[in-house]
Amino acid sequence: MIEHIGPQLFNGLVLGAFYAIVALGLSLIMNLTGTINMAHGSFMTLAGYLAFTMVSRGTSFWFALIAAPLIAVIVGVIVERTLVRPLYKREPFYSLLMTFGLSLMAEEIYRLIWGPNGVPFSPPHALDGAASLGFMVFPTFRIFIVVVLIVAIVALALFLTRTRFGLRLRAAVQDSEMIAALGTNTQVLYAVNFGLGIFLAGIAGVLAAGMLGLSPTSGNNLLMPAFVTVIIGGMGSLFGSIVGGLLIGIAISLTTLFIPAASEVSMYILMAVVLMVRPRGLFGEEGIFG
């Protein structure tokens, strides 16, 4: 039993990194506008299907990995401008219901376009095998996923801390009225921020399609762990989302080792414990949403 713990821990970290990137996108959108984006999973699925369509028509996987999320971003920005923006001034559950409705519609639309059954989408041959890590054999594609996620997280951190735009974004999270009064066009901020969140979802969607199956429901299946990640990590904290994701990944993996049937429940137990001990979440800033 003990000798399995190492591989399971590693596997859990990889899985957790994946939840983290989905949660990051959710957090970005939520922090700035208070929108709980229930359609986040649908954007993941959309990017997955777009990549599938591109690759099956002969485009390279590498092009699709960037292009599919970008197209999802265009759709996302249109959705933000036309459907979500008018609801910013209302109670949060208006935009929640709106995006939830969108996710249901999206699922049916994907079913109409790509059919109700899963479609085959495989990573390129260079990434398709498994590599020996010494203590375990691990799929090359999962190692690649970790690399992409680290790059994405570092790029996001640099963008938010080292660019003027990132500075304005963070300022707007603190006080959007003041930023608007100082002459920044907050509408543009909101749109770009939403697009950024969707881009992360898109990347995660293409990677998920290569790692898991791709069907109309596949994105929504990943949404629940992402929400739990945000709650554990703490609302308002992007760093919290990363830690939360890793914790959930490890919890699921280790539970599988000892009580396999309880693996899905473990993240909710973890969430309950965190909420009892530290109601704001591990790194949540009390008052930001306040």
Partner: protein, 422 residues
């Protein structure tokens, strides 16, 4: 600009309720309203939304083909068949409620459909209290025609006992008797597990690992990393649908398909089409196949016409699910016609033990003692790339099992199943 603030408490509530609804589905299907007043309505319950939407669509196509064939011939006792469809969302509670609605409000003459075993059992229970016929086209759990059997419930697809016994002995002979099971953690999976344990008890094999995975598991990696330590002769994959696709895809990426033989009690074309060729491997039980003489029967004109008509009408070849739908409604209509009545007891009696030929090889009958359709069960080796002429011709049928050889005997069934006719 000011906006309402979101606090943590309401976020947890909102996100929780919202994602639960997203996961478990929400009503998304509008039933068709009947046109002809004198038509015989049949209530069709299928999980049109959610993970089993693919199989649901195909079963529905089978039902439509049978309904159209009967209507073209003038219908049942001169009355047309009208299918009233409801989305049961793969949810036992929703299914029970929709079943009641179909019987009480739409006044259907019988209920048909379902994919997941849990839902089949739920509908069977409701149908029994309402005294309505229910023909389970696609839920496989033994209990439907076993300890939860009812006089008004019939089942078309194979029982899990048939699946495990048709494949268990064949796989043990080919690969060995130390098995690693990846089992879905609900009625269907547990029922399969029981069947395989019975096979192993008879041939002296053992289970070296049994991973119970929740329905809808997306990431199987934590389970898969345990296979290497167990060193099984064979990995048996019992999960179905999207879970099957996810599991096999990840087994391939973990390099397990190259190390261990893989197989299972049943595989369907729907999830196989969602896999790339490298991940299509192994020996599996199959319940029907559109492209083999062994499953269709040599020179069986009815079967070949069914295949051709399905392709013509829907642009896709039929799967076993299409066959379940077709056989179910065709036999129900035949029984109503034979009984010259819609009275559930009379119709049930007219279904029992009537031997018939249909779109499969040989003949079949719904056994009087448990209402299980007794028809052959096949085993196939997967051809990852199909045949040169047809990339999707995936099954090379290797074994044919007579129903009586792989299902529990009447004596065994009578110990657990009491039909309880009124």
């Amino acid at each position: 600009m000011s906006r309402p603030r979101l606090n943590r408490g309401s976020f947890v509530k909102l996100a929780g309720a919202g994602s639960a609804a997203a996961v478990f589905g929400i009503p998304a299907y509008i039933p068709q309203i009947g046109e002809a007043a004198d038509a015989i309505k049949i209530g069709l319950l299928e999980p049109y939304t959610g993970v089993y939407a693919g199989p649901a669509e195909n079963e529905t196509r089978g039902f439509e083909m049978a309904a159209d064939a009967w209507n073209k011939r003038g219908g049942i006792m001169g009355r047309k068949i009208e299918l009233v469809k409801e989305d049961e969302q793969n949810d036992v509670g929703v299914a029970a409620q929709k079943a009641r609605k179909l019987v009480n409000q739409d006044k259907v003459a019988a209920l048909v459909g379902t994919v997941s075993s849990g839902v089949s059992l739920s509908v069977a229970g409701v149908a029994n209290t309402l005294g309505t016929l229910f023909m389970d086209s696609g839920g496989h759990s033994d209990d439907v025609t076993g300890k939860n059997c009812h006089w008004n419930v019939f089942r078309t697809c194979h029982s899990t006992w048939m699946e495990t016994h048709a494949t268990g002995y064949a796989l043990a002979k080919r690969f060995g008797k130390r098995w690693f099971l990846i089992t879905p953690d609900y009625a269907y999976g547990h029922s399969l597990e029981t069947g395989f344990k019975d096979v192993l008890a008879h041939n002296g094999g053992s289970i070296v690992g049994n991973e119970l995975t929740p329905l809808g598991t997306t990431d199987f990696s934590s389970y898969l990393t345990k296979i290497d330590a167990a060193k099984p002769d064979l990995v048996l994959v019992l999960v179905q649908g999207d879970d099957y696709t996810n599991c096999l895809k990840q087994m391939n990426q973990f390099g397990l398909l190259k190390k261990y033989p893989v197989g299972g009690p049943q595989v369907e074309l729907e999830p196989l089409y969602g896999l790339s060729p490298e991940a299509r491997q192994g020996y599996w039980g199959i319940e029907w196949y559109y492209k083999s003489e062994k499953t269709l029967g040599k020179g069986n004109a009815v079967a070949h016409k069914f295949v051709a008509d399905t392709i013509k009408r829907y642009g896709k070849p039929p799967t076993a699910r299409n066959a379940f739908g077709y056989i179910t409604l065709d036999r129900l209509a035949q029984a109503m016609n034979d009984a010259k009545s819609l009275d559930p007891v009379k119709v049930a009696r007219a279904i029992e033990n009537v031997h018939f030929t249909s779109i499969f090889a040989g003949s079949g009958y719904y056994r009087k003692e448990d209402h299980q359709l007794m028809w052959p069960m096949w085993v196939a080796k997967i051809r990852p790339d199909g045949t040169p002429g047809d990339k999707l011709d995936l099954f090379d049928v290797t074994d044919v099992n007579a129903a009586e050889a792989v299902e529990q005997t009447i004596a065994e069934k009578e110990k657990v199943c009491k039909l309880g006719y009124p």
